[in-house]
Amino acid sequence: MKMKVFAALEIILLLLTTCFSVYRTSKDSIDNIRNDYVCSSYGYNDITLLNWNGADGAYTSGEDAQILLNNADRYIHNIKIAGDISIPEGEIQIFYNDSPGAEFTEEKSIWKSYHISNGCIYITADIYAYDLRLDLTNAEGVSFTLKSITLNDRALRASVYDVAKTSLLPVIVLGLAVVLIMKRSGIKPYIQTMKKYMPLLQNLISRDLKVKYRRSVLGFLWSVLNPLLMALVMNMVFSKLFRFQVDYFATYYLIGSLIFNFVVECTSGSLMSVIYAAPLIKKVYIPKYIFPMEKCAFAFVNMLFGIFAVLVVMLIQGVPFTAKMLLSFIPMIYALIFAFGMGLVLAALTVFFRDVEHLYSVWVTIWMYLTPIIYPEELVASTSVATIMKINPMYYYVHMLRSFMMYGTLPSINEHIICITFSLASLIVGLGLFKKVQDKFILYI
């Protein structure tokens, strides 16, 4: 019963999110026309051009062309500069400060590569700035006429086609692949048994939920409160104490930990699942994969509760809601498949070697620090840790969820391919190993 109420709440929240994002989008398209160029971004219109020696809005080579944008005071995801451009692709230097009147210093400058398409320069900035200045250093020796400049605090709107191509297509491909793997492994008779035991799966999940929430006064609220309090602590420690340069740190942390904790809950739950089910396995025949599967499904339900916490923090911090948040389920499903495969391996190993549990808990701690959850990705970008980060599957799931939920960007198809590869590899290894040794479980539990 309770479950249905939560599911309904979840759906209502998602619908609200959508409405909100549509509202924000329409607000986004206000253009303020000033002279012959346009600066748009929620009514923002304080712009100065320095060293632009040509006629109004034109630049012909000389000193660095500078564009000064005062009182922006926002998180800027990307910048679009439109005009008559003949410069090659290169890098642009962005100076910025994060409080009014502060100096532009070398520390507060970043080099960003840009790309040109449709006569516009696109720069992905990903910074919070109060004022900012763009230096088109590399554009020396060329002429340039500015027509408009747009600051976006989230990615440019993607068309339905883009979404379908870069996000839904990979999911469909994944679905087909999973079906194919299952067919190849002679699944037909298994599906029959699986159907027969679906009620058991449901019952076990609802039992776990009841046992988890029945004994506490606040019940399910803990699922929301716990991450909220954690976010509060992390926010204080890391953004105030260590001064990490991450915008919306609490949200950044919470999204990362949402999916990381989900995978950890799946895997460490699965790890002991077969052993805890020993009384049952010894008495009746039950397909044994049901137990890791149940733990993963249970963790998935818990993660859905956790989304509430993320939404609350996003509202408090004023992170813009976008329609792309609705695609957040994609990395979650990738992570689920990955975690299930890993859970199968761990469950099987633990039956034979009980100390896997302790080894795994050590690994979880290491894993957490290898994944950019409490620290910004850029912090390790230029160190050797970056290489490890790149072979860490968790990094991709965390990254993709942040793209959808927080930045409102569409991950590239490559990211999807990497995620799917990790998920499928884990699933294949998990199923293979589990199937091979499951008949021996009974002798060891």
Binding site: P199, I442, Y444
Partner: protein, 244 residues
């Protein structure tokens, strides 16, 4: 006659390490020191027999003759090392009553949980709920957490679920000692009803009287081998002989 259970050339071998190794650390050390010794134990050695649909078959034998192993093979808990076990129809094992009870949940919730363990959906259990409550005589306690139940109450609930799901094959392992004598009579009557209703029943018991009363045929196992299969009367008489 169609067979409900076909056991063909089945052997069951347990491999046991002489000392239990259950950690990676220990495994690695012993492997290096070459101290991993295994002892093979043949619980069942090439046994074959069939159980026809609707038949009541008893399995007898001394302790350690492989009776329970055979039952576990039939119910699918164990997989045979060699040979095949074929089962047609759904099984309700009474090897131990109330498999999968969760003590934190109420009796009613446990009916659904136990039902799903046996492979029955929520709706199916809903239909059987009244019968289960009536038979177990636990009407007033259905919404009590079963951690507060006595062992007799638990057994009644378990027996009631296992027999009310109307399995095609019922496996009974020394359980007719449930509750007071009135309930015991009720249980035996229930099993008799099921037998006449065409349910295949496989019984393991040390009580020759019970076997004689209930079974059509008897399989006598001895040290993992089939010693004798046949009419209840003949096998039971032979079996009684060695007792003397």
């Amino acid at each position: 006659m169609e067979n409900a259970v076909e056991i063909k050339n089945v052997s069951m071998k347990f491999r046991m390490t002489t000392q239990k190794v259950d950690s990676i650390k220990e495994f690695a050390i012993r492997k290096m020191k070459k101290q991993l010794h295994y002892v093979d134990f043949m619980a069942l050695d090439n046994i074959s027999f069939n159980v026809g649909k609707g038949e009541v078959v008893g399995i007898i034998g001394l302790n350690g003759s492989g009776k329970s192993t055979t039952l576990k093979l039939i119910s699918g808990i164990l997989k045979p090392t060699e040979g095949t076990v074929k089962v047609n129809g759904n099984i309700s094992p009474l090897i131990e009553l109330g498999a999968g009870f969760d003590y934190e949940l109420t009796a009613r919730e446990n009916v659904f949980l136990n039902g799903s363990v046996l492979g029955f959906s929520h709706a199916e259990m809903e239909n059987k709920m009244d019968e289960i409550i009536e038979f177990s005589e636990l009407g007033d306690f259905m919404d009590t957490a079963i951690k507060n139940f006595s062992s007799g109450m638990l057994a009644r609930l378990g027996f009631s679920i296992a027999t009310n799901v109307r399995p095609e094959i019922l496996i009974v392992d020394e359980i007719l000692g449930v509750g007071d004598f009135l309930f015991q009579q009720k249980c035996e009557k229930r099993i008799n009803d099921m037998m006449s209703g065409g349910t295949t029943v496989i019984i393991v018991s040390h009580s020759i009287d019970q076997i004689k009363r209930l079974c059509d045929r008897v399989v006598w196992l001895d040290k993992g081998k089939v010693k004798l299969i046949g009419e209840t009367q003949i096998v039971c008489n032979e079996y009684s002989e060695i007792k003397k």
